[in-house]
C-alpha cells in the first residue's frame, strides 16, 4: 500500500460525499419555497438509505467476483472487507469511496420527480434502485463485468452514474406524471443563490469524484483533476455565448446548469483525454444539452429539474467523445477514433445504450412494484399546500408568529371528582 494514495483517497472520499448535500442545494434552489425542504431531503436521505444498501448488498453485487452481469454475495454485510490492500489502498477505503458514488447517483434521480412524490415510497425506491440498478451496472463497467471486458471507457461514471441516473429519471418522470401546476402556472426557482452555491460545491466535490477515480495520487489523478477544471470552464463559456446570442442575457440558473453539464460530460473522459481535448469536449457538450433544455420545456415531460438534459445528454456526449478523443499517450489504456481506433466509439455507444435500456426497464419495474404497495403521488391538495408541510411537518422559511408550543404529555394533577363536569350543552350533569 502507498501512503500518498491512501491520503488522497481519504480526501477524495470526503469530497464526493459533499456532492450529495451540494446537489440538495442545487435542486432545492430550483423548486418553489413550499417544497424546498422536501427537495433537499430527497438528496440528504440518500446519504442514509443508499449508504446502508451499499454496505448490506450493493458493494458485493458491484465489486465481488461473479459473472459478467453481477457480482456474487460473498462481500454482503461487508464480509471480507477489511484493512487488506485493494490496489494500493485499504479495502475499507475503496468500499467507502465507491459508496459515495452510489449515494450521489441515486440522489440525482430525484430532480425528475420533485414537488409531487410522497417521501416514503421515494425512500423505498432509492433502496431498491441502488441494489438492483446501480450495483449491477457498476459491476458491468468497473467490477469486471461484460462492458469492462468489452473495453468500455468510463473513467469516473459518465455511463454508470449519469446516463444510468438520467434513464431512471426519464422513466420516473413519466411514471409519476407531471405536477398539477406544470404548464399551467409559472413555476419559478425560489432561491437561485442556493443553486449557484450547490453548483460551486458540486464542482469542488467533483475533483474527488474524477481525480479520485484514479484510485491513487498519481499522474492519472493529475490529468483527471486538470480536465475536471477546464472542461466545465469551456462549457460555461460556450453556454454564456449561446445565452447572449439567443436572449442577450446571461442567466444565473443557466450558469449553474452549464457548470454541471461540463462536469457531467468530462466525467467519463477525465483520465483518458488530453487537457486540450477536455476543453474541446466541454465546449461541444454545451450545445446538445442547451437545446435539449429548451426543447424539453415545450414537451409534456415534467422532468422537473432537467436530469435528462443535463445528465443524460451530457453523459452520453461525454461517453461518445471519450471514444473519439481518448489518447493512449495520455492514458496508457486505449486510443479513440481520432487517434486511429474507431472501434472505441462503437463500444462507447453500446455501453451507453445498454445501461440506459437496463436502467429504464428496471426502474419502471421497481416503481410499479412500490406503487402496488403505496401510492407514489401526493394528493392534489398536498401538492397545493407543498410537500414540506405535508410530508415532513416542517417549513423552510417559518415566520414563528402564531406558533404555539405543544408540551409533551405529562401526567397532570388528577381532576377532583367533586367538581361538577360541564356537559358540552352547558347544563350540569
Amino acid at each position: 500500500m502507498n501512503p500518498a494514495d491512501i491520503a488522497w483517497m481519504l480526501a477524495a472520499t470526503a469530497l464526493v460525499l459533499l456532492m450529495t448535500p451540494a446537489l440538495g442545494f442545487f435542486y432545492g434552489g430550483l423548486v418553489r419555497s413550499k417544497n424546498a425542504l422536501n427537495t433537499m431531503m430527497m438528496s440528504v436521505s440518500a446519504l442514509g438509505v443508499v449508504g446502508i444498501s451499499w454496505a448490506l448488498a450493493g458493494y458485493s453485487i458491484a465489486f465481488a467476483p461473479g459473472n459478467a452481469f453481477s457480482g456474487n454475495l460473498s462481500r454482503a454485510f461487508l464480509s471480507g472487507v477489511g484493512l487488506e490492500a485493494q490496489g494500493s489502498i485499504p479495502h475499507v477505503l475503496f468500499f467507502s469511496y465507491q459508496g459515495t458514488f452510489t449515494i450521489i447517483t441515486a440522489a440525482l434521480i430525484s430532480g425528475a420527480i420533485v414537488e409531487r412524490m410522497r417521501f416514503a415510497p421515494y425512500v423505498a425506491f432509492l433502496f431498491a434502485w441502488s441494489i438492483f440498478v446501480y450495483a449491477p451496472v457498476a459491476h458491468w463497467v468497473w467490477g469486471g463485468g461484460w462492458l469492462s471486458r468489452l473495453g468500455a471507457l468510463d473513467f469516473a461514471g459518465g455511463t454508470v452514474v449519469h446516463v444510468n441516473a438520467a434513464a431512471a429519471a426519464l422513466v420516473a418522470a413519466a411514471v409519476l406524471k407531471p405536477r398539477k401546476d406544470f404548464a399551467r402556472q409559472a413555476i419559478l426557482p425560489h432561491n437561485v443563490p442556493f443553486t449557484l452555491l450547490g453548483a460551486g460545491l458540486l464542482w469542488f466535490g467533483w475533483f474527488g469524484f474524477n481525480a479520485g477515480s484514479a484510485l491513487g495520487a498519481n499522474n492519472s489523478a493529475a490529468l483527471a483533476f486538470t480536465n475536471t477544471m477546464f472542461a466545465p470552464v469551456a462549457t460555461l463559456s460556450v453556454w454564456t455565448m449561446l445565452d447572449l446570442v439567443r436572449s442577450r442575457r446571461v442567466t444565473a440558473v443557466c450558469g449553474a446548469t452549464a457548470i454541471v453539464v461540463g462536469l457531467v460530460a468530462v466525467t467519463p473522459a477525465a483520465g483518458f483525454v488530453s487537457p486540450m481535448s477536455a476543453i474541446l469536449l466541454g465546449a461541444a457538450a454545451a450545445l446538445p444539452s442547451y437545446y435539449a433544455l429548451l426543447w424539453r420545456a415545450r414537451t409534456s415531460l415534467d422532468d422537473s429539474l432537467d436530469v435528462v438534459a443535463a445528465h443524460g445528454v451530457g453523459g452520453t456526449v461525454g461517453a461518445l467523445l471519450t471514444g473519439i478523443l481518448a489518447q493512449k499517450s495520455w492514458n496508457g489504456v486505449s486510443d479513440g477514433l481520432l487517434f486511429g481506433n474507431p472501434r472505441q466509439l462503437a463500444i462507447q455507444a453500446a455501453a451507453v445504450g445498454a445501461v440506459a435500456l437496463y436502467s429504464a426497464g428496471t426502474t419502471w419495474g421497481i416503481l410499479k412494484l412500490v406503487a402496488a404497495v403505496v401510492p407514489l403521488r401526493a394528493s392534489a391538495r398536498e401538492e397545493g399546500l407543498g410537500l414540506d408541510v405535508t410530508q415532513h411537518g416542517e417549513e423552510a422559511y417559518t415566520q414563528g408568529e402564531g406558533a404555539i408550543l405543544v408540551l409533551p404529555d405529562t401526567p397532570g394533577p388528577p381532576v377532583p371528582m367533586s367538581e361538577p363536569v360541564l356537559a358540552p350543552g352547558g347544563g350540569a350533569s
Partner: protein
C-alpha cells in the same frame, strides 16, 4: 379592472392548525399564509370584481377568506392628479 395591490400576510380563519415538529419541539401553527388584495374600482365594477375573486379563490374549505367592500372617500392618481372616478379608470 387593471390595478391591484397584493400583500402576503399571515392570518387565521378558523381552519385546522398545522402541527409541525422541529427537532423534538412540536408546535401548532395558528397562522396560515394568506394573501390580502386591495383593489380600488368605480361603483359599477364592484360586482364583477367580487365575482371574479369568489370564483378564483373558493375551495369550499374553512379558511378561504373574506371579501370586504368599503366605500372610499376620495381617490387621487398621483401621476396625473386625476380625482375619483377618473383616478380609477384605466387609460386606454
Amino acid at each position: 379592472m387593471r390595478g391591484l395591490t397584493l400583500h402576503r400576510v399571515q392570518g387565521h380563519g378558523g381552519e385546522t392548525e398545522r402541527v409541525e415538529t422541529y427537532r423534538g419541539t412540536t408546535v401548532k401553527m395558528e397562522l396560515s399564509e394568506k394573501v390580502r388584495l386591495e383593489i380600488g374600482v368605480s361603483d359599477h365594477f364592484v360586482e364583477p370584481t367580487v365575482r371574479a375573486i369568489l370564483s378564483a379563490a373558493q375551495t369550499g374549505a374553512v379558511g378561504d377568506g373574506k371579501i370586504f367592500v368599503l366605500p372610499v372617500e376620495k381617490v387621487y392618481r398621483i401621476r396625473t392628479a386625476e380625482e375619483d372616478q377618473a383616478a380609477v379608470t384605466p387609460v386606454g
